[in-house]
C-alpha cells in the first residue's frame, strides 16, 4: 500500500483540532491528535489535582456552575465513577445518563439524545459507546457542548491512555525509552490503541504480544514496518517469555469470553497457559517492573491473582490516578478564558 499518493478526488472539509495548552481544544476524542506538550500539561495539572485529593476537604470550587453529563451506552465502573467523582470534587454539577432508564430505551436516537443533553445545558458530555467513532459523530453535531470520549468500540479510550501514561511517568520519572509490553487482545482493545498513540508520542518502546488471531491486520501482515508508518517502531513478539525480557511496564489486556465463541481462540484455558501473566513470567521483566491493567480483570486468565495483587501491581493506583487525570482534563477543557482558556 502506497502511503503518499492522494486520492483522485479530494475531500472538501478541514478544521483544526486545537490544543489544551492555549485552550483552543474543543473535544478529547483520542490521543492521536495530542501533542507531547499537551500531555505534559495534563500531567502537571494532574499533580496539582493529586494535591487537592490529599487534602482533608477535597472539594474545590473551580468548576462551580458547570454541568458535566456522563452518557454511557455500555456498562462501566471505573470510567463513569471517576468522571463523576472528578466533576463533583471540582464543584461541577454532574448528571449521569445511562442507556437503560433513559429515553434511549424508548428508541430515541443517539443524535436526538445528545442534542437534548446539549439543550439542557451540558458543558461537557462524557460518552461511552459500543460503536467506534460515536464520539466523533456526536462532536460533529454539537455546537456548544464539548465531548470527551469515555471509550468507543474498539477504537479509543484516551482518558485511560492518559492515566496509564501518567502512572508510568509518576513511578519511573519518564516515559521516553521505557519498554512497555502490551499482552493479549490487541485487535479489539481501545485501551491498546490509545496507549499506542500516547506511548509512541512520548518516546516509549512498545512491544505487542498476542496470539496472531488477536493482532491487528497491520501487524499480522507486517505493513507496520513500512517507512513512515506511524507504528513502525513497534515490536511484535509471539512468545510472552521473550516479550517480557527487559520490560519496564507490563500491561495485560482484558480477554473477553466472546473471543473464544467467535473462534479466535480454542479455549480460555489454552490462552491462559500461553499468554497469562504470572509470577514466573513477570520475573523475566526488569526488577521492579510495573504491572498495569485497565480493568476489569479476569483474574486467572490474562493475569494471575498473585501478580494482580502483588507488590509490582499498580492497578488500584491507576484507579486513583484516574480520578486526578479526569479532574485535570475537565479543568483544562472548561477553564475560563482568564486562565488561558479560549471561548
Amino acid at each position: 500500500m502506497a502511503l503518499t499518493v492522494q486520492p483522485v478526488v479530494q475531500p472538501a472539509v478541514s478544521a483544526p483540532v486545537g490544543s489544551l495548552v492555549d485552550g483552543s481544544r474543543r473535544h478529547i476524542l483520542d490521543l492521536d491528535d495530542f501533542a507531547v506538550e499537551e500531555m505534559e500539561l495534563v500531567f502537571t495539572t494532574t499533580d496539582a489535582m493529586q494535591e487537592v485529593l490529599g487534602r482533608d476537604i477535597k472539594k474545590v470550587p473551580t468548576l462551580r456552575g458547570k454541568v458535566v453529563v456522563t452518557l454511557f451506552y455500555e456498562p462501566s465502573t471505573r470510567t463513569r465513577v471517576s468522571f463523576e467523582g472528578a466533576g463533583k470534587l471540582l464543584s461541577a454539577d454532574v448528571i449521569n445518563v445511562s442507556a437503560s432508564g433513559s429515553s434511549v430505551e424508548k428508541g430515541e436516537s443517539l443524535l436526538n439524545t445528545v442534542r437534548t443533553l446539549q439543550a439542557t445545558g451540558a458543558d461537557v458530555l462524557v460518552v461511552r459507546h459500543h460503536h467506534s467513532g460515536a464520539p466523533y459523530f456526536i462532536a460533529r453535531h454539537l455546537e456548544r457542548t464539548r465531548v470527551i470520549n469515555g471509550g468507543d468500540g474498539w477504537h479509543a479510550h484516551p482518558t485511560q491512555g492518559l492515566l496509564d501514561l501518567y502512572t508510568i511517568q509518576r513511578h519511573l520519572g519518564r516515559v521516553a525509552g521505557v519498554k512497555v509490553v502490551l499482552v493479549g487482545d490487541i485487535v479489539h482493545s481501545r485501551v491498546a490503541r490509545s496507549n499506542l498513540w500516547g506511548l509512541l508520542a512520548m518516546g516509549a518502546k512498545v512491544t505487542l504480544c498476542a496470539p496472531p488471531t488477536l493482532l491487528p491486520y497491520e501487524f499480522l501482515q507486517g505493513h507496520y514496518r513500512q517507512p513512515g508508518h506511524p507504528w513502525a517502531s513497534v515490536e511484535v513478539e509471539g512468545s510472552v517469555e521473550r516479550a517480557l525480557e527487559g520490560a519496564d511496564v507490563v500491561m495485560p489486556l482484558r480477554l473477553q469470553r466472546e473471543r473464544q465463541q467467535s473462534g479466535l481462540l480454542p479455549t480460555l484455558r489454552e490462552y491462559s497457559k500461553m499468554y497469562g501473566v504470572d509470577e514466573r513470567r513477570l520475573a523475566r521483566a526488569n526488577p521492579g517492573a510495573l504491572v498495569l491493567h485497565p480493568g476489569p480483570m479476569n483474574e486467572g486468565i490474562e493475569i494471575s491473582p498473585q501478580v494482580a495483587h502483588g507488590a509490582q501491581s499498580l492497578i488500584e493506583e491507576q484507579v486513583k490516578n484516574g480520578v486526578a487525570v479526569r479532574m485535570a482534563l475537565l479543568y483544562l477543557l472548561l477553564r475560563p478564558a482568564a486562565e488561558g482558556g479560549k471561548r
Partner: protein, 461 residues
C-alpha cells in the same frame, strides 16, 4: 409542444460504436438520430427544428447504468422511480437498470409490471428492471425467471446478497442462460464480511471497525467463475473492488468464459482513506479529524485501498472490466445520521458519477473514448441483443444523447440533487465536468442548454 427535431451544431461527437471522435453536427428527428458527423446544410434542416450551439460540448450516446437502486416499491422514503429517473437524467444516463431489492422484492412478474408502469408514468429515462435470482432474495429456491423475462427483466440478481448456496447458483446460471439472460453477481461471502463496514487493513485497524477483507469478495468471484464454466450461463460480476478480483476476471477472460465485470465510480475515484476524514494535505498517518467516520463513505463493498483502486482503473483501461455502473444506492437522511456501524450502506451516485469519472480523464488516467465505451457499449454487452440499437450515434438509432461540458466546474450540493438520497461523500467537492443535457428518444429530459436565440431549453417532460 416540444420540437420534433433537434439540431446540435458544432459539438465534439464521441461514439465508441463507430470510433468517431470529431467535431460535427447532430440532427435528431422523430426520436431517432438522423445525421451525425458532417456539417448539416440549412436546406437539410427540417422545419420547426430546435437548434442549439454545441461549441465546447461533447455529444455522445446516452449513458447506460447497469446497476441502480430505485427503492420502489417499498422504500419510497429513500427514492422513487420518478426521482431516481430524474437523477439519472441529470447524471447523463438515458437508460438505467434497477435492482430488485425492493419490498416486496422484484421476484415475480407482478412487481416487474408495477416497476415498468411507474417508469412509464415518470416518462424520463429508459428503466430496465432486473429480477431476483431467488424467491424473496432468500437464497433457497429459484424465482420464476421465465415469467419475469416475459415481463421484461434484463437479468437476475439478488444484489445486496450473494447467492450463498453454490449448487443453487450453478442452477441459476444454467437456467438464466437458457433464457439468454445474465446472472448479476453480488460477490460477498458473508461469513467473512458480516458486520464489517470498512475495508480490512490499515483503515479498519485505525478506526477500530471490523474489516471487510478482499478475500470475502475474491472467494465468491473465484467460485462463480468456476460455476459459470460448468453451468454454461452468462455471469456478470457486479461492483468489483479488489486487485485480486481483477486478476481472476482477467484469467477467466483469457480462458474464453462468458464473464463480464463492472466497477463503480466511487471505487475508481475514492479510497478507504475517506473514512479517516483526512483533509487533502493529511498523510495516512495523521490523526483522525472530527469529521472522520463520515457515514456517507459507508458503502458495500467498502472503499478499498489505493492499490485496489489502481488495479481497478488498470482493469478498466484494458477492458478486463467491461463497464462502469453507479450502484446508485439512495438512503433516507435518518439512516445515515447515526454511528458508522448503525448507518445504512450506499452512495447516491447517479448525479456525481460523470463529474467524478471525468476527473480520471482530466488526469490522463482514462481516455474520453474509453470512458464513453465503458458507459455505453460495456453495459450493452451484458444486456445483449435486444438493446443493441442503444449506445450509438449511428443514423437510425434511438436519439439517446448526452451533452457534456468537460471543463464546467461545479460544487456538489446534495440539497440540489433530484435524487431523494442525499448520501454523497462528495458533498462540497468541486468537480470539473458536467452533464449539460440528456436526450431520451429525441427529447431533452434534462437541460441546461440555451437555444440559438438564447432562450433556455426546457426539458420536455
Amino acid at each position: 409542444m416540444p420540437a420534433r427535431s433537434w439540431l446540435i451544431r458544432g459539438a465534439r461527437l464521441v461514439d465508441a460504436s463507430t470510433g468517431m471522435d470529431r467535431s460535427g453536427d447532430l440532427l435528431l428527428a422523430d426520436g431517432r438520430v438522423l445525421k451525425a458527423g458532417e456539417a448539416i446544410r440549412e436546406g437539410d434542416v427540417p422545419p420547426g427544428c430546435a437548434a442549439v450551439a454545441g461549441d465546447g460540448l461533447v455529444a455522445c450516446p446516452g449513458f447506460i447504468d447497469l446497476h441502480a437502486h430505485f427503492r420502489e416499491p417499498g422504500y419510497e422514503d429513500k427514492e422513487t422511480i420518478a426521482t431516481g429517473a430524474l437523477a439519472a437524467a441529470r447524471g447523463g444516463f438515458a437508460t438505467v437498470c434497477c435492482m430488485p431489492n425492493t419490498n416486496p422484492p422484484m421476484d415475480n412478474a407482478s412487481v416487474v409490471d408495477y416497476v415498468l408502469r411507474r417508469a412509464r408514468e415518470a416518462n424520463l429515462v429508459r428503466v430496465l428492471p432486473i429480477g431476483c435470482v431467488t424467491k424473496g432474495r432468500a437464497g433457497r429456491e429459484l424465482a420464476e425467471m421465465w415469467e419475469m423475462a416475459q415481463a421484461g427483466v434484463v437479468g437476475f440478481s439478488d444484489d445486496g446478497n450473494g447467492v450463498a448456496d453454490a449448487s443453487l447458483m450453478r442452477q441459476a446460471l444454467t437456467y438464466a442462460g437458457g433464457l439468454g439472460l445474465p446472472v448479476i453477481d453480488h460477490c460477498e461471502d458473508p461469513s467473512l464480511s458480516q458486520g464489517a463496514p470498512v475495508n480490512e487493513g490499515w483503515v479498519s485497524n485505525r478506526v477500530g471497525l471490523r474489516g471487510w477483507p478482499a478475500a470475502a469478495e475474491e472467494v465468491m468471484v473465484a467460485r462463480d467463475i468456476a460455476l459459470a464454466e460448468v453451468a454454461r450461463g452468462r455471469l456478470h460480476l457486479a461492483h468489483l473492488t479488489t486487485a485480486g478480483s481483477v486478476e481472476l476476471v482477467r484469467q477467466a477472460k483469457q480462458r474464453g468464459l462468458a464473464v463480464t465485470a463492472e466497477v463503480t465510480p466511487h471505487h475508481l475515484t475514492l479510497d478507504e482513506r475517506w473514512v479517516l476524514g483526512h483533509d487533502s494535505e493529511g498523510p495516512l498517518a495523521g490523526p483522525l479529524m472530527p469529521w472522520a467516520y463520515d457515514t456517507a463513505t459507508k458503502v458495500n463493498p467498502p472503499l478499498r485501498s489505493q492499490a485496489d483502486t489502481e488495479a481497478l482503473l488498470q482493469g478498466l483501461q484494458e477492458g478486463v472490466i467491461d463497464l462502469i455502473a453507479t450502484d446508485h444506492a439512495p438512503q433516507a437522511l435518518a439512516d445515515k445520521l447515526v454511528t458508522y456501524d448503525d448507518a445504512a450502506y450506499g452512495i447516491s451516485g447517479l448525479e456525481t458519477a460523470v463529474g467524478a469519472l471525468l476527473t480520471l480523464v482530466h488526469r490522463g488516467r482514462l481516455s474520453l473514448m474509453t470512458l464513453v465505451e465503458r458507459l455505453t457499449l460495456g453495459p450493452l454487452r451484458v444486456l445483449g441483443g435486444s438493446y443493441r440499437e442503444l449506445g450509438t450515434l449511428r443514423p437510425g438509432s434511438p436519439a439517446d444523447i448526452v451533452l457534456l461540458d468537460l471543463d464546467g466546474e461545479w460544487v456538489v450540493r446534495s440539497s440540489e440533487f433530484a435524487s431523494k438520497g442525499r448520501n454523497t461523500p462528495l458533498e462540497g467537492v468541486t468537480l470539473r465536468g458536467r452533464v449539460v443535457a440528456t436526450f431520451v428518444g429525441g427529447q431533452p429530459v434534462h437541460s441546461l442548454l440555451r437555444d440559438v436565440q438564447g432562450e433556455p431549453v426546457e426539458s420536455a417532460r
